[in-house]
């Protein structure tokens, strides 16, 4: 039994087995180039071992020369694979140095096949048998070829390349890879190089056993690769666990999740999400199938919210109705956010939805109640006002009437008492002034409360009002568009009062849409600078506009075009805006609908700066 044959054959077999296993892994996962490169280096190592066995068992100098010539091929393969491995798998090593190593080694191989018998010897003069592992093996004696230095130089460069990579990895904190992979590579390559040089230059008479060193290297690499595989498996398990937890959380919150792949329009949805929209578990979904399930009246506003979120790179948050196949209706609250590529184009959108039908119902009831109460209290307040006014005015008006009647009677008598008539006329004048005073007092009472003026941010104010009416707008299927110019200076005033005016105008706008179908139901709020030191906030609607004969008295008290209106909203609005030093005006859009313009002066200190 020959130990040499057994050992070297085992090396070949072990390396080939490792190579085969990792090649199979690479076939499964083509992008894992590290496995292919490792497999190539293992194949190379087995080639080296085979050539070494061939050399030790050579009977003639020609055989030995051929074996030594061919060993350069697997060596090149191992070096190329290792340089690649360091670059690709460890992402270390200098590229230019790697290239030089590879080029010198390729040059070495070319020279190797140029010289006879090989790069190492000018001439092999004799085979010298020596004892190795208890048996006789062949070694060569001859004239060394000084071109062999090129091969050794390439190995030296390779060692520099490996040591440099080791340093990089160490600094990067990947100390394990640095020591076990680069460290063992450097160590075994140095050992192989030194041994080879000593043998070839005739310093040490012994057979070449470089493959044994390289097998150590392959073993270290294999160990590390398996560790990485195990680590990846652990990560996958952790991921699975976290997915499970996520699923549990989503289920307990009754959330439906979906991901919309914008490129192909496909939508992935959780079971709960499918159930909310009434989709079957295996139905394939896309944007259109979802859109078709939305209540027709909510499609436009929802689409707009999604588009706006994508164009602003923001999040959308909306509520809509879903019309289920059975004819039932469901209210959903939904949120979504886009994902974008490097150029900022949307790639996917992720979202959640939750059933709010029950909450919505109670909200609607509460809203109805609130509106009824608000109307009742307005009517009551107005009733009290009217009653107080009537009482206060009836005294002087009654006196005027009775005086006038008395004066008539006096003048009809045969001898009119002119003195008395003059006294009556003086009293009439006094009572008229008294009536005027009542009206003045009433007006002063209504204006009571000084203006709480401070700088007000227009964008913030508009946003707040729109948020306040959003629920109402959704319920009335009105789309509210807002456009506020960038960096508007603040206006001076009482934000609550100005918001009251805007609220009144927006609600009026929504009231004006009666009889308009969806898509035509729009109220727009635009704010922009209008001339020096003036901000204009315009509220326009897509309704029927202001009838021409009514345009003149739109702002008169108790004037209304609504069946149940009180006719005080615009009067109060004008009082408020004028108290702010602004103006309010109404006009009709050329393309239909009414437009109310409120202009307000910019806060004083802003104007100076």
């Amino acid at each position: 039994m020959s130990w040499v044959t057994v050992l070297w054959s085992m090396t070949v077999a072990a390396c080939l087995t490792l190579a085969l296993v990792h090649l199979l892994v690479w076939f499964q996962e083509k992008k894992a180039w590290g496995y292919l490169l490792f497999a190539l280096s293992a194949i190379g190592t087995s080639g080296i071992a085979a050539c070494e066995l061939w050399m030790m068992r050579s009977q003639t100098t020609a055989q030995f020369g051929a074996a030594l010539r061919w060993v350069h091929v697997p060596i090149l393969l191992v070096m190329l694979a290792l340089v690649g491995f360091v670059r690709v798998y460890l992402r270390a090593g200098r590229l230019w140095l790697g290239w030089i190593v590879c080029m010198t080694r390729v040059l070495t191989l070319a020279l190797n096949f140029y010289f006879t018998p090989n790069l190492n010897f000018r001439e092999i003069t004799a085979l010298r048998p020596i004892r190795f592992l208890g048996e006789w093996v062949s070694t060569a004696q001859g004239v060394p070829n000084s071109w062999m230095l090129l091969a050794q130089a390439s190995l030296a460069l390779f060692i520099v390349f490996l040591l440099d990579s080791m340093n990089t990895l160490w600094r990067r904190g990947e100390r394990r890879h640095s020591l076990i992979l680069c460290g063992s590579m450097s160590l075994f390559v140095i050992l192989g190089t030194v041994q080879g040089a000593m043998i070839m230059w005739g310093v040490a008479p012994m057979p070449l056993t470089v493959s044994i060193f390289y097998t150590g290297l392959v073993g270290a690499m294999g160990y590390e690769l398996s560790r990485d595989v195990l680590h990846a498996a652990q990560l996958a398990r952790d991921l699975g666990e976290s997915e499970k937890r996520m699923k549990l959380a989503v289920q307990s919150a009754d959330l439906g999740l979906w991901i919309w792949n914008i490129a192909d329009g496909e939508v992935w949805a959780t079971e709960k999400c499918r159930q909310l929209f009434g989709f079957a578990a295996d139905e394939s979904l896309n944007y259109e199938t979802f859109n078709a399930r939305l209540h027709p009246e909510d499609r436009a506003s929802t689409g707009l919210a999604v588009q706006q979120a994508l164009s602003d790179h923001g999040m959308y948050e909306t509520q809509y109705r879903v019309a289920l196949p059975g004819g039932t209706e469901r209210w959903l609250s939904a949120m979504g956010q886009g994902e974008y590529d490097a150029k900022g184009n949307p790639t996917r959108m992720l979202g959640v939805c939750v059933d709010i039908s029950a909450r919505r119902r109670s909200e609607l009831e509460a809203e109805e109640l609130r509106q009824t109460l608000a109307h009742a209290s307005r009517v009551t307040m107005l009733g009290q006002l009217a009653s107080a006014l009537a009482h206060e005015l009836s005294q002087p008006l009654g006196a005027i009437l009775r005086n006038a009647e008395a004066a008539e009677l006096f003048l009809q008598s045969s001898s009119p008492d002119i003195e008395e008539v003059l006294a009556i006329l003086a009293d009439i004048r006094k009572d008229d002034q008294r009536a005027g005073g009542v009206i003045e007092r009433m007006r002063a009472l209504l204006k009571r409360g000084d203006l709480d003026a401070k700088p007000v941010d227009v964008a913030e104010m508009v946003e707040e009002v729109v948020r306040f009416v959003r629920a109402d707008a959704v319920a009335r299927r009105v789309i509210i568009e807002t456009r506020v110019a960038n960096a508007l200076p603040p206006v001076r005033g009482d934000p609550v009062q100005i918001q009251q005016v805007l609220l009144n105008l927006i609600l009026n706008g929504m009231d004006a849409l009666n009889g308009k179908t969806d898509g035509e139901r729009r109220v727009a709020v635009h704010a922009e600078a209008s001339g020096a030191g003036v901000i204009e906030i315009a509220v326009s609607d897509s309704g029927h506009g202001i009838p021409l004969d009514k345009a003149g008295n739109l702002f008169d008290p108790f004037f209304t075009t609504k069946p149940h209106g009180l006719g005080i909203g615009l009067t109060i609005s004008r009082t408020i805006i004028e108290a702010h030093g602004g103006k309010i005006a109404a006009e009709n859009h050329p393309q239909g609908g009414a437009k109310f313009r409120v202009t307000l002066p910019v806060a004083a200190n802003e104007r100076k700066s």
């Binding site: 009482h391 005294q395 002087p396 008006l397 009654g398 009775r402 005086n403 008395a406 009556i424 009572d431």
Partner: protein, 218 residues
């Protein structure tokens, strides 16, 4: 000008709003009424001539004693006056109370002149009627007061249509005694027939359950 020995009917206007008070007084004077003005209910109650006929025109809302309180207080006096309310605004509960209390009318301050004058005229006529009723009642009362206790007792039986014999049985006295009482009663009251006696006791409000001063149904 009315020429009469009795004091002339006076329209008493009560209103805290002096300009209106003056104007209303002017109109009513010019329309031929005797007018006295009072700036408060208390002033009117203190200064009125109880024997003077007439009516009251009062504001419903007044500081201190208001129109409705004045109406109740006035109703308790020996010579109440019909009251006519004026108000700045329609107030349904107050109107109902005023009409239940027997108010002659309830007008807005700016009601047409004709309506006001008609209402004043109606109130004056009513006062005249009620005043004479009260005078007649006082007369009958005086006559009835001259009867003895026994005679009043016999009279109460007579007006209920009882015969002499039945009355004698009821009271446990002799029929002749009843006849004697009867003779004394007719002599004192100067009324011979049972029908006349019944009318007289009714006028005096005697032997009836209700003694309301005002006609029923209002």
């Amino acid at each position: 000008m009315r020429i009469s020995t009795a004091p002339a009917a006076v329209v008493h206007i009560v209103d805290d709003d002096v300009p209106f008070l003056t104007a209303a007084a002017r109109l009513l004077k010019a329309s031929g009424f005797d007018v006295r003005i009072f700036a408060s209910a208390a002033e009117f109650l203190a200064q009125r001539d109880v024997n003077a006929p007439g009516c009251v025109v009062a504001d419903l809302h007044m500081p201190g004693m208001d129109g409705l309180e004045l109406q109740t207080t006035l109703a308790r006096t020996r010579e109440p006056l019909p009251i006519l309310f004026l108000t700045g605004q329609g107030d349904i509960p107050a109107t109902v109370r005023a009409m239940r209390g027997g108010a002659e009318d309830f007008l807005e301050k700016r009601a047409p002149k004709e309506k006001l004058i008609d209402a004043v005229k109606r109130a004056l006529l009513r006062d005249e009627r009620e005043r004479s009723q009260r005078a007649r009642r006082r007369e009958v009362r005086a006559l009835l007061d001259s009867l003895t206790q026994r005679q009043l007792e016999v009279l109460s039986h007579i007006v209920r249509g009882r015969l002499n014999k039945q009355i004698a049985d009821d009271l446990g006295i002799h029929e002749r005694t009843v006849k004697a009482h009867r003779g004394a009663i007719t002599a004192k009251l100067g009324v011979p027939s049972v029908a006349e006696l019944t009318r007289l006791t009714q006028e005096a409000g005697l032997f009836t359950e209700s003694s309301s001063t005002f006609p029923k149904g209002q």
